[in-house]
Symmetry: C2
Subunit: 419 residues, 2 copies
């Protein structure tokens, strides 16, 4: 690995990874500000800001931003998550300085033109509509709300339409002032990149920014509630969540290995028991998502109205059984999948840039591959069984959407789990 | 490029591409049999077969298939398209022989156990339900049906529920007999692979298969109809299709460059005029899909009930305007995007294996990158304007889904285009 890091005097961190043999690179800015850093009245502003970055800077109009990258065949995009906002581009080797110039321009110098704010407001309201029309998208927002009710971490990224309809230029500027300090920014690049040139460029572009103190996010408090919405759909969409480790918790890899063995692939328990043996669904999976101070072990499935009761109970029964009889072979397979996934993911510059940015955000450094593999290898079958046995002790969050029929309540599921 | 090809005596083709520096590989079998190779009463059988490949072979049960690949951290999957069915795995370097063994086993030796057929039937019925619950998925099926009515190319891949409910073991075996001849199979591998070892293995595995004559697919006949379905959704989902070149047509790159400049990226006309200037939608794009003997230039957007009329008319107006004033700068940008996309795509073993398999299916060989780039560079602004001017001369296919409101008829759109 050829990961190199540098921190500017104002706290902005630069991390690069050179990948020999590649002709392209991914370069971007990851800001440690997202949905959970919004106060209630700000909900949706981090995402609105991400959109406005593309609507014009002091030097470039919206079309000039798009053309600058697309003229050279590149690709530019951004996303907002609960803990991060990322702006990134994928370009050929020679266009890395251009990409860095454009990305830094849209992050540092957006003009927030009031007419453009009105247009973009409309675009975001359409985006909210699209999310509602995608049951297996919106249901994860509802699960999040059920897991972390009345807290920043439980709110949607897009924000409610009523708030999005009212944001002003000042709301955007204030969020930037509060959350876009240089210490909150990580410049990450991977692929055909040269660390020293990027540091020199970054010094020129970001060196003048004044260090500001970081604000701390409100701690998350898991609380298993439910949200169910009846709608005329073909399937009942089912999402079940249990509190699991945050990414700084030593148990985070145990949670990921459990999720993989429980519902991560075709050989996993949920896939085999619920889809392969009984045919109750097409999609079913478990995943372990992690935030700084909490995490969510999630099971998702889509099934029919008549089968949701069976599917939910079987999921609980498999969970219960996992605590007793998860085998060393299953755990070994999950470890192998995590390690191979890590190695394969490293073959793409986009996923490498994303990975090193996230690691710097979490740890302030990029742990070596060996260090990560050691942590994965250290997880035992006993650890995984114990983990499974503790799930649900803090309750379960549940979201259901569709023709609900005999859909169960989370209380009944938790009782079944505890029985 | 280090692409190497070999054809077995029975017609099965092997194509590999070694990628130096990689530690993983993608290996799979692409069968030139898909939805359009089904007779009406067979609709859905190619996809059913793809599912059954994973349900057990003479040597492996369903769980053993999944475990064989996932034990070593690999990933196995398959898809059915209108002209192909593909089975592939991504594994680390040392596991390539294992992946080839498993993939060839599921393609050649599925047992079609009647009990497993019943379970899988249920899974596929759930998959059909899931597609219906995803408006921006199902709408492309409806557009396809409107573009190629009463023809194999216009039918869905999944097939109608009524047929899926009735398929038997014999239906599956018959489709294999008709369409899975060795001459219809392409073994493709890219990444950390060695051509000679793969050929040796392939000879051992596939050498005994008897050559059989290929059946020819029914020619496609574009015919612009419409399908509209009213549903209580947040957005109206709009998909408009025009006939465009098939992939053996010399104009195929012109169509792709037009689609890119018209609606391919953030700098494209549709994105700028309809989203960036007017905020009428979140998602809008154009793409040029190609089959052997026909192609579909598609525009998709999601918008609100009150704005669908404007959005549809603006799309037509932009299309009309493109024939007159598409600029050399726009065409140059689209060419740059295609070329860079090609180079960046080549950095992943999965996309390389897919690419070389498709090229062999179309051309019987893998044209060099230089040859492809030459064809892209040969497309002029005049070509693109002429292409835009001819669109719609064969009518337009239209699919609409949602709260339809003032949604236009395809006839009115074609008239507006011709006006």
């Amino acid at each position: 690995m050829t990961v190199e890091m540098h921190t500017l005097a104002n706290g902005l961190r630069i991390v690069t990874e050179h990948m020999p043999g590649l002709k392209s690179a991914s370069v971007g800015i990851w800001v440690t500000a997202g949905g959970r850093h919004e106060r209630a009245e700000q909900n949706g502003v981090a995402h609105f800001l991400e959109h406005m970055a593309f609507k014009g800077t002091e030097r470039r109009s919206a079309i000039e931003i798009a053309e600058a990258i697309e003229d050279v065949g590149g690709y530019i995009n951004a996303y907002t998550s609960r803990e991060m906002t990322a702006f990134f581009a994928r370009v050929l080797e020679n266009d890395v300085p251009l990409a860095l110039d454009v990305i830094s321009d849209i992050v540092l110098n957006p003009v927030f033109d009031p007419a453009e704010i009105e247009v973009e407001r409309h675009v975001i309201l359409q985006e909210i509509g699209q999310a509602y029309d995608t049951p297996d998208d919106i249901i994860f927002d509802w699960l999040q709300e059920a897991a972390y009710p009345d807290q920043p971490l439980g709110r949607t990224i897009l924000g409610p339409s009523e708030r999005v309809s009212r944001f002003t230029r000042d709301d955007l500027a204030q969020f930037v002032e509060e959350r876009y300090a240089p210490g909150q920014m990580i410049l990450s690049a991977a692929g055909a990149v040269d660390h020293d040139s990027i540091v020199t460029e970054a010094e020129r572009i970001f060196g003048h920014l004044t260090a500001r103190e970081a604000r701390v996010a409100e701690p998350a408090q898991f609380s298993g509630r439910e949200r169910r919405e009846t709608k005329t759909l073909e399937q009942v969409h089912f999402a079940l969540g249990f509190e699991s480790p945050g990414y700084r918790d030593p148990d985070v890899y145990t949670g990921q290995i459990f999720a993989s063995a429980f519902g991560g692939g075709m050989s996993s328990r949920l896939f085999q028991e619920i889809r392969e043996k009984r045919g109750l669904c097409y999609t079913i999976f478990a995943q372990a998502g992690a935030y700084a101070d909490s995490g969510l072990l999630t099971v998702y499935a889509g099934t029919s109205r008549d089968e949701i009761g069976d599917l939910a109970e079987l999921t609980i029964d498999e969970l219960k059984r996992s605590a007793d009889d998860m085998t060393p072979a299953e755990v070994a397979r999950a470890r192998a999948q995590m390690k191979a996934g890590l190695l394969m993911g490293l073959e793409s510059p986009s996923s490498r840039a994303e990975r090193i940015a996230r690691l710097v955000a979490i740890w302030g450094r990029v742990p070596s591959l060996d260090e990560t593999i050691e942590r994965i290898d250290a997880v035992t079958t006993g650890d995984v069984r114990d983990f499974a046995g503790r799930l649900g002790s803090g309750g379960a969050a549940l979201a259901l959407y569709g023709p609900l029929g005999s859909a169960p309540a989370p209380g009944a599921l938790v009782e079944r789990l505890a029985a």
